[in-house]
């Protein structure tokens, strides 16, 4: 695919995968993927299962962020999240709720976020939580952000909060990162269960550089789904929603 931002010498090959937890319907998936060709932005979010309208919050963050032009500095991101949070909470005004939904709505929603803007050969990303960006070159991992080790994933990450009262304490954990790509490099955006699994493969030295590639001979979507179902059934991947975006950087041959 071509994006408006990339130079005439580069091409991006994109593959994405979004799977709900085992035995769950696709409509229950609280991970979200979004990208925008014009802005060359890609985002993966992971709504916290226990949060109020987590799916809506995760989708809003991903879909609205990729359409944005700013929000790549911490300050811009902070302001943007505050606006998004306000709009989300405003959308609940006037709803008749049970006492428990009311309590839950008061706390608001939470989601992990990672977004990257690609302006080849460079990329710049922002993240909060345990959704990750991995920059790979062949079977080498150049960078993993914001978490870099499989054991760093736990059940209580700091997440993007929709509730204004929680902004200050959570936003201080947001991080920005950047990198420079070469021909054949791969950027992976992943929600936590997939990222943890992938980092473990790197740590064990058995990461397949063609993982999720679009070239001939690699798994098609149905095969991939079966593969990840098997990994989750075997307990090698936690039974969680899975969101994966693979972006391969290709230099055009003129």
């Amino acid at each position: 695919m071509s994006t408006a931002k990339q130079s005439a010498t580069w091409d991006l090959q994109l593959r994405q995968l979004l799977l709900p937890k085992l035995d769950h319907d696709a409509s229950e998936c609280e991970d979200a993927i979004a990208f925008d060709i014009q802005t060359a932005r890609f985002a993966v979010t992971d709504g916290a299962t226990e949060a109020f309208h987590a799916q809506q919050w995760a989708r809003n963050l991903a879909e609205h962020w990729v359409r944005n032009e700013a929000t790549l500095t911490l300050e811009e991101f902070r302001t943007w999240v505050a606006t998004e949070g306000r709009e989300l909470h405003d959308s609940w005004n006037g709803l008749t709720m049970s006492w428990y939904s009311e309590e839950k709505a008061r706390t608001g929603s939470f989601a992990a976020f990672v977004g990257v803007e690609i302006d080849l050969p460079s990329w710049k990303a922002i993240a909060l939580g345990d959704t990750c960006l991995l920059h790979c070159r062949g079977s080498a991992l150049l960078k993993s952000f914001p978490l870099s080790r499989s054991e760093s994933f736990n059940s209580t990450p700091i997440l993007v909060a929709s509730n204004a009262a929680l902004h200050e304490s959570t936003m201080s954990s947001a991080m920005v990162e950047s990198g420079v790509c070469e021909n054949g490099d791969v950027l992976l955006l992943m929600s936590d269960a997939a990222a943890s699994w992938c980092l473990q493969r790197f740590e064990n030295g058995d990461f397949d550089p063609d993982f999720l590639a679009t070239k001939e001979g690699v798994k098609d979507d149905e095969e991939l789904r079966r593969f990840f179902d098997g990994e989750r059934q075997a307990g090698r991947i936690r039974n969680d929603d899975l969101a994966i975006v693979r972006i391969e950087i290709k230099r055009r041959i003129n």
């Binding site: 006492w99 428990y100 706390t107 209580t156 009262a165 039974n239």
Partner: protein
């Protein structure tokens, strides 16, 4: 062990066993206003509230937990009343939908910018304070065992049941050791039933929380409760650490001579199961 994912298809159960004997009508030492029974009822209501919130998925409460509240004093009986009366094991969605009443109040929370704001909150009430009669602990534990056996016959897999037992005195109907051990020997494919005991005291005595050995305990009564207290699994230790409670590998789920803060922490640790939730992040607040 103690690692099974708690899902709607594979729920777990929590039994709150409460001493409602006459002595629970006494006040805590140094606190002439607050009676033990009142404080315990308040904490139990908060615990049920937190379990409901933890299972709330937008407008739906998902049945990850089934809850039983059993009291013992004048008699041994389930503590729910109203639409939940006489029900031994109640899915958390029914707990959510049938409180006896929902009180409204205000809570002060940080606005994140250095000030406090007051926001409306609602407190559901399921349990009223009760303090009457003796302490038929053995009979109560036999009832708990019956409930557990019925649960386990239908749920042999998954996260094992947790029993949080709170008492302020010695059993009046015999030594609970044997029935306690029988309960602890039950279990699922993910581990034995977890029996945690919290003893609270009216007198100002040194409290002992989550000990690793009975040698630190003052008397036979303390040692007998220690003997029927399960070791805290790793994920409960993590919850204790987050609350600033010292519990280490080998610590038993046992408190002796506990005070009001011990009770709150006992229920928080005992219901932590899969860890703290985002909801807990809002606990930096005050109730007005």
């Amino acid at each position: 062990m103690y690692s099974a994912q708690i899902t709607r298809a594979n729920p777990t159960c929590i039994i709150l066993l409460i001493d409602q004997s006459g002595s629970m009508g006494d006040s805590f030492s140094g606190d002439s206003v607050r009676k033990k029974a009142e404080f315990v009822a308040e904490v139990v209501n908060h615990t049920l509230h937190d379990l409901v919130i933890r299972c709330t998925k937008t407008e739906e409460v998902r049945n990850y937990y089934y809850v039983s509240v059993v009291g013992y004093g004048r008699n041994v009986s389930t503590c729910f009343s109203g639409p939940l009366a006489a029900r031994e094991m109640v899915p958390i969605s029914d707990v959510a939908d049938y409180p006896l009443q929902v009180k409204s109040s205000y809570k002060r929370v940080s606005d994140g910018a250095g000030s406090w704001v007051e926001i409306p909150v609602r407190f559901p009430v399921w349990i009223h304070p009760t303090a009457d009669g003796k302490t038929p602990m053995c009979e109560a534990l036999i009832r708990v065992k019956d409930i557990l056996q019925r649960w386990l016959s239908e749920h042999p897999r998954g996260f094992p049941p947790t029993i949080l037992h709170l008492t302020d005195g010695e059993s009046s109907d015999g030594d609970p050791d044997e029935i306690g051990r029988q309960i602890m020997s039950l279990g699922t494919d993910d581990g034995n039933v977890l029996l945690f005991n919290c003893h609270i005291s009216t007198r100002r005595l040194a409290k002992i929380e989550y000990p690793t050995a009975e040698t630190s305990l003052p008397d036979g009564f303390a040692r007998s409760l220690y003997a029927i207290s399960s070791p805290l699994p790793t994920n409960f230790l993590a919850a204790a650490a987050q609350l600033g409670v010292r519990a280490v590998e080998g610590s038993r789920g046992f408190v002796f001579n506990g005070d009001p803060s011990s009770i709150v922490q006992f229920y928080e640790i005992g219901t932590s199961l899969t860890g703290m939730t985002p909801y807990k992040w809002m606990d930096h607040s005050e109730t007005s």
